[in-house]
Point group: C2
Chain length 596, copies 2
């Protein structure tokens, strides 16, 4: 623990040396990535808190980690015995630390930040809050580099050309769609900061950030010429030739600011203010046309090849999960296993599948009361021992070279479930089915659909504090913007229209602190159900293939059409997986997929 206190002290010394009075260290990288490379884990390194969302704020007298309710328990535990104190955000991702810090500091203080780690809209908010007390914002320069010993290097692995067999659309066709938009808007360039947008657009992949096959890069798509900013030695001649042939010049990642200034002089540049970082924003010499990312939208509409590959990935995931659950049932007959080890075991089954690369996020293995900790991460040492008793929540996913998966199942391991647990499980399932079965006009937004997943819980006074689902990529980010289901209008998952051929998760849940957690999650693909005089109507088709535990269903709460949905889903799971299973595996699966 002393290493954390030493790190904070080093930051404080650095602040003094640089004549700064406070520092803000967010958890993202310059691309507003959700998962970041080790190089950018500054917040984690200096706070000791490993959760995915949090901000470290340090002054001479205070050191605070700001995070949301998902992480309160974890952050408290991880910061115990250090000078870092937990500050609880009332709204996830809200920059509540900013007014707090500005309030703490004296008039005319100076806050140090890394301009690359703030989007221009985040910067606006910071400047607005700082202005009242005439607080200045300055770059902290090499403060962190100077004090972080043994900092990891920036990722430098080879970049691969992503096969057309997987992505289904060539680079040039995608770029031409962006160029059409450029000419529609009378713009010269589209500047792209998001890693998943560049990787989708240019059909490239690498493994720069945790859990996600992305490439740390910027892209500037122009009417005539385009530019990819990446460490050049990462591209082999064949890919380099292909990029050049498609009109893309590769420039050094570190030259972004100077080249951006040079190339955009007197030009009109489209960029999204929510992902454009402030360093790049201030480097743009031309006129900025700030608008939601076109690439984000194009990418969210999957083509036939991507859909076929995703379905193929779901079969592999389903086979691995079938084998895993068979193993687990048998293992628990006379053994126990820790939550942490179970996560490893689960991965061992996925590893045997063709194209498997790695997990799409850190598996959440939450036994009994740990299931109630929404983003629980079982510790390597001392995680709970699972036996043939009680409930287990398992949220996991994989990156296959042709697909990304994400699935949650809540299963009963033995003993007699309480009626409270069965009721909550059944209401969550009813919400899942309600949303899965929804039919709605093309363009309906996530917030309009989100309540379908909550309505049955609500009638019993229950709810859950997270969104109901998110977009998911094709061998890309497991949380892919922008569509999804959320109860807030201010999130992109709430505000984005749903279209056909998108991949989205449906994952309502219920969490009883200290007792149990429930979540049932499938990936669905949206399809045009029919056209009417009122336009195109969309519905969902589940593509995740894994039985849903029927033992926990309270039959008094479930209606015929819901049973019908469940039976049809289980028939499909069995039909799609059976040919890939051994006889004994088939027998097990048939039993789990029996109509109720």
């Amino acid at each position: 623990m002393n290493s954390i206190n030493d790190g904070i002290q080093a930051i404080r010394n650095g602040l003094k040396k640089n004549n700064l009075h406070g520092i803000i260290i967010p958890s993202n990288d310059p691309h507003q990535s959700e998962y970041v490379s080790d190089y950018w884990k500054i917040r984690e390194h200096f706070s000791g808190f490993t959760g995915s969302a949090g901000t470290l704020v340090v002054t001479q007298n205070e050191a605070a980690i700001w995070t949301d309710s998902r992480y309160f328990l974890q952050a408290e535990k991880q910061c115990l015995g250090t000078v870092v104190e937990l500050q609880k955000q009332s709204i996830p991702h809200a920059p509540e630390h900013i007014p707090w810090l500005c309030n703490l500091l004296e008039k005319k203080s100076i806050i140090g930040i890394d301009y690359r780690l703030f989007s221009s809209s985040q910067m606006d908010y910071l400047l607005e809050n700082a202005s009242e007390k005439e607080i200045a914002i300055e770059s902290y320069g090499t403060l962190i580099d100077d004090i972080w010993e043994n900092r990891s290097a920036q990722p430098n692995g080879l970049i691969s050309d992503y096969s057309i067999d997987f992505c289904g659309k060539d680079r040039m066709s995608k770029i031409n769609e962006v160029k059409t938009e450029l000419s529609n808007k009378g713009a010269d360039f589209n500047f792209i900061s998001s890693l998943d947008e560049t990787c989708w657009l240019l059909n490239i992949r690498s493994a720069d950030v945790d859990f996600t096959p992305l490439v740390i890069s910027y892209t500037l798509i122009g009417n005539e010429k385009s530019y990819l900013f990446v460490h050049e030695n990462r591209i082999e001649p064949e890919l380099m030739a292909a990029l050049n042939q498609d009109g893309i010049e590769v420039l050094s990642y570190d030259s972004i600011r100077t080249k951006l200034a040079e190339l955009t002089l007197n030009k009109k540049v489209i960029a999204s203010s929510s992902t454009l970082n402030y360093a790049c924003f201030t480097s743009l010499e031309g006129e900025l046309i700030s608008r939601p990312s076109l690439v984000q939208h194009l990418k969210s509409i999957k083509n036939e090849t991507e859909i076929a590959n995703a379905k193929n990935g779901m079969v592999k995931d389903g086979v691995a999960l079938t084998q895993f659950f068979i193993w687990l049932e048998s293992h628990l007959e006379s053994n126990t296993i820790s939550e942490y080890d179970l996560g490893i075991k689960l991965e061992s089954f996925r590893m045997k599948q063709e194209f498997y690369k790695y997990q799409s996020f850190g598996a959440i293995v939450g036994y009994k009361s740990n299931g109630a900790i929404i983003h629980y991460s079982a510790p390597k040492k001392g995680s709970s021992m699972i036996s043939n008793d009680g409930v287990l929540l398992l949220d996991s996913g994989a990156q296959y070279e042709n697909a990304t998966t994400d699935i949650t199942r809540t299963i009963w391991l033995g003993g007699t479930p309480s009626s409270e647990l069965k009721k909550a499980y059944t209401l969550v399932l009813k919400g899942h089915i309600e949303l899965d079965r929804a039919v709605f006009p093309k363009g309906t937004t996530g917030i309009q659909l989100d309540s379908f997943a909550r309505m049955h819980l609500w009638k019993h006074g229950l709810t859950y504090a997270h969104g109901t689902g998110h977009g998911i990529g094709s061998y890309s980010a497991v949380h892919e913007p922008a569509q999804g289901f959320a109860a807030r209008m201010t999130t992109y998952r709430g505000g984005t229209p749903h279209m056909e051929n998108q991949f989205t998760t449906i994952e309502p849940g219920y969490y009883k602190e200290g007792e149990f957690g429930i979540r049932t999650e499938n990936v669905v693909v949206s399809k045009e159900k029919f056209k009417s005089e009122h336009g195109s109507f969309i519905g969902f088709e589940p593509i995740t293939l894994c039985p849903i535990d029927t033992e926990l269903i309270d039959r008094s709460l479930i209606s015929d059409h819901e049973i019908d949905w469940l039976n049809k889903y289980h028939q499909k799971v069995y039909d799609d997986l059976a040919t890939h299973l051994t006889e004994s595996e088939k027998t097990w699966l048939k039993q789990k997929c029996l109509a109720i």
Copy 2:
């Protein structure tokens, strides 16, 4: 028709004389009222278009009325043979005329407006659009006064003190709630432009605007002293003394700009930028704290007296409607009646009820295909003749001195309804019931609930183009902001949280152009259903008392819990109305309320 062309010519002469190149004439008054006094019907007078929403734009070469799809047919008809052309808004209330006008005009043109008729946020949008071509915005001064002969005077009737027996909370208590908010926000004044806010806050009423017992006024509530701006001769000594005793000084309505400048010098003033007009905005000398109206929120939470009075009003409305429908059934056995005359007849039954004042809006009597015109207004001459055949949509409401009502029923008059009509009617009813039965956490917003009313229609490829409901006042505005149900996040009805003890309408519909219209509307009061560990949960209770036609229900589409809701609702209608009816009326109502 020539009078319209003459009026447009007079405007054009006025433009020339005043060195203006275009004029924008909206339909609201300086208080952003929905219904306005005759004095402010400038748009209606000069365009000939009588719909509730529309904007007239005139240049030397163009004269255009901008309105939304509800009014396309009506505007086309009413502008036929004049120089005024219909311009179709793609989004209701969107200021699409502004880019259109700026595009038409030459560089450095001048647009004339009345600053009182634009909110400061509308003005921002206008200025932003005008800036590109350096178009100036100027007041058109007395241009309209100079050319509008026989313009009505501003309302000047007596203002009454609204009885505590009806409003349930005295003036001082309400003002103190605003003062608490002022001190919480460190502000000196709360400036109120909305007529219904002033009338609620000060417990005053008059009849200044169509359909609504409001007083044309502004209010400035201060920490110490408060000011009501109204034509002084409208207040009798007794009310004047009561106002003065509560710390309210009455100032001349016409002195608002000079007094505002004087009183707010160096003060902090809370006001809502969506209702504050630009003339007042520029008169504020202090610091403006722009925020959603506190009074609007306070007013939306009804007290026990208001709820009891509303229920009493609903009984009167239910009795009048029972008598009206009995009369209609008997009349149609051997007679016909025009839509227009039926509206008059309906009012004649309401008139007999205690406290009846006038309609709360122009009744919509839409027979057969006219029911598909959402805001149809039957013309005095030549409206359709209703006989004992087909479907009738009837949307009407009343202002009683103790309550405001609003109800829509769709009834079958005779013959055999088509299966298409029955299906649509049943799906609308299912949506109505789904939303009525919803239970949800306190604070859930309108857009999160709106889809419940649409989900059954959606599954059959049907939908409707209007919101699903609106707040309703207590002897005040029939459309009372802010809560409601809407599919758009940008409307206040979509974005406002629902709380307990609010009055809201539930009114899904379906419209088949050229054939029929369906809408089933009740007023509901929100109630706390229960508290759980997740907080307070809210549900609705219908307070409108009038049978829903069961003849049009397609029994194959309706489920047991929906039938149960309908039977319980009908039992309540009968129980609550029976004691106020004659024996024969009871017999008729019992038949209509039979369980199905």
